[in-house]
């Protein structure tokens, strides 16, 4: 990890929002780089200063009293009961809107589009919020049994370290309206999420490959399971991994 990468991640690092692997990467860099270490100390010092009571305003007693009155004043009943006609009107409007939406559906984003967006979003989130893996292991015999009892199918987990794609771990995720397995691999500095679910579900193109917001997506059906690969890794190398799964 170099300084520009580190300074990009430093805020998420001090906020405790990085996954374990990246957190350790930043930590390692801080031990060897005096400039970034100074920057890190500056962030911690700023945080400590902002967390003193000097910065936290407390609600005045007058406000506390007024708020206690709110729910005890007949005039301020929750609107739900006060204006039934408005809600009826809104409900009619909502139904009409729903019908319209259904009619207009073909013009909106397709299921495939939504799913692809969802996959990219899950991939990005997994890297960002310190939740890349629930089970951290490069041992396929640790990761595969971990999914037992958590899912109604058994994803095939293999380590491809020999081919340059070491297994990092696994995680439960939610995609396409169901719980799915997320297998995490690494290619040099790039993380790859592979989402796995039973193949019979509609919504994903069986072999679609696409690029979305700079992330590459590859879909494959193998032995009754659907594998969706997402990564910022280039398409050629990502295809190598997809082919390995297919073997």
């Amino acid at each position: 990890m170099n300084c520009s990468e580190a300074s990009l991640l430093l805020h998420a690092y001090t906020d405790g929002e990085l996954d374990l692997v990246r957190s350790l990467d930043v930590e390692k860099h801080l031990q060897t780089c005096a400039a970034c270490a100074t920057q890190n100390r500056g962030l911690l010092s700023l945080r400590a200063a902002l967390r003193t009571p000097d910065f936290a305003y407390r609600a005045p007693q007058s406000l506390r009293k007024k708020v206690r009155q709110i729910s005890r004043t007949p005039d301020e009943k929750p609107r739900l009961t006060r204006m039934p006609w408005l809600w009826q009107w809104l409900a009619t409007g909502a139904t009409a809107l729903a019908v319209l939406t259904l009619m207009l559906r073909p013009a909106g984003p397709s299921d495939r589009d939504l799913l692809a967006n969802e996959m990219v979003a899950n991939h990005v989130r997994s890297l960002m919020v310190g939740h890349l893996t629930d089970v951290v292991s490069s041992d396929q015999h640790t990761v595969k049994p971990w999914f037992n009892g958590k899912l109604d199918f058994a994803p095939d987990v293999k380590d491809f370290a020999a081919q340059g794609f070491p297994l990092v771990g696994g995680r439960l995720d939610y995609l396409n309206g169901r719980a799915v397995a997320a297998l995490v691999y690494r290619r040099n500095q790039h993380f790859i999420n592979i989402f796995v679910w039973p193949a019979d579900r509609a919504g994903a193109d069986k072999t679609a490959t696409e690029n979305r917001r700079g992330y590459n997506l590859i879909n494959r059906d193998v032995n009754g399971l659907h594998y969706a690969l997402v990564s910022d890794l280039n398409l050629a190398e990502l295809s190598q991994l997809a082919d390995l799964i297919g073997k």
Binding site: D15, S45, F55, A56, P60, R72, L80
Partner: protein, 170 residues
């Protein structure tokens, strides 16, 4: 449970947090109290729609939206908010390693008050209220990545502004 008792149990414990956010967004005690009170009235009106979950984030979302509506109406000039892409990077890296002391509080407070609204909001929710990126993203209705960049820029700007102010006061 009576709705009234439920409402007080949900809202009163977070009243300090609600007021604190309103105070940092509004900039003075009087307006902050108005905004916080208005937000609590709305919270009571929406209480039928509250489905459990993180009550503090729920209330802070209402406070935030109330404050924005109030600011748009009463101080439109402060609402000339920049899009995140427009917000120029602070190139000045001076002061990034600075250690803060007790004596810095008044200057630091003024610097925080001068931050653009969205930056101030992100920093208050993160540092003063201790919310996670995900919670802040939900409250401010922006993606996680935007929360991260706003926080980074807010802190950098604070350090820079502070650094300049510090120079002037010396």
């Amino acid at each position: 449970m009576e709705p009234q008792a439920g409402f007080e149990q949900i809202v009163l414990p977070h009243l300090d947090a609600a007021y604190n956010l309103a105070r940092w967004l509004a900039g003075n005690d009087h307006d902050a109290e108005d905004i916080a009170q208005e937000a609590c009235v709305r919270a009571w009106q929406f209480f039928g729609g509250y489905r459990g979950g993180n009550s503090r984030a729920w209330l802070l979302t209402i406070v935030r939206n109330t404050a924005y509506t109030w600011l748009k109406k009463n101080r439109p000039q402060t609402m000339v908010t920049l899009t995140d892409d427009d917000l120029a990077e602070v190139e000045d890296t001076a002061g990034q390693g600075r250690a803060f002391q007790n004596a810095d509080v008044p200057v630091l407070r003024a610097a925080l008050e001068e931050l653009p609204l969205e930056f101030r909001e992100a920093l208050v929710l993160r540092e003063l209220e201790g919310l996670s990126y995900k919670e802040i993203a939900d409250i401010a209705e922006v993606p996680l990545g935007t929360v991260m960049s706003r926080l980074a820029r807010a802190r950098r700007q604070l350090q820079t502004v502070f650094h300049r102010k510090g120079d002037v006061s010396k």
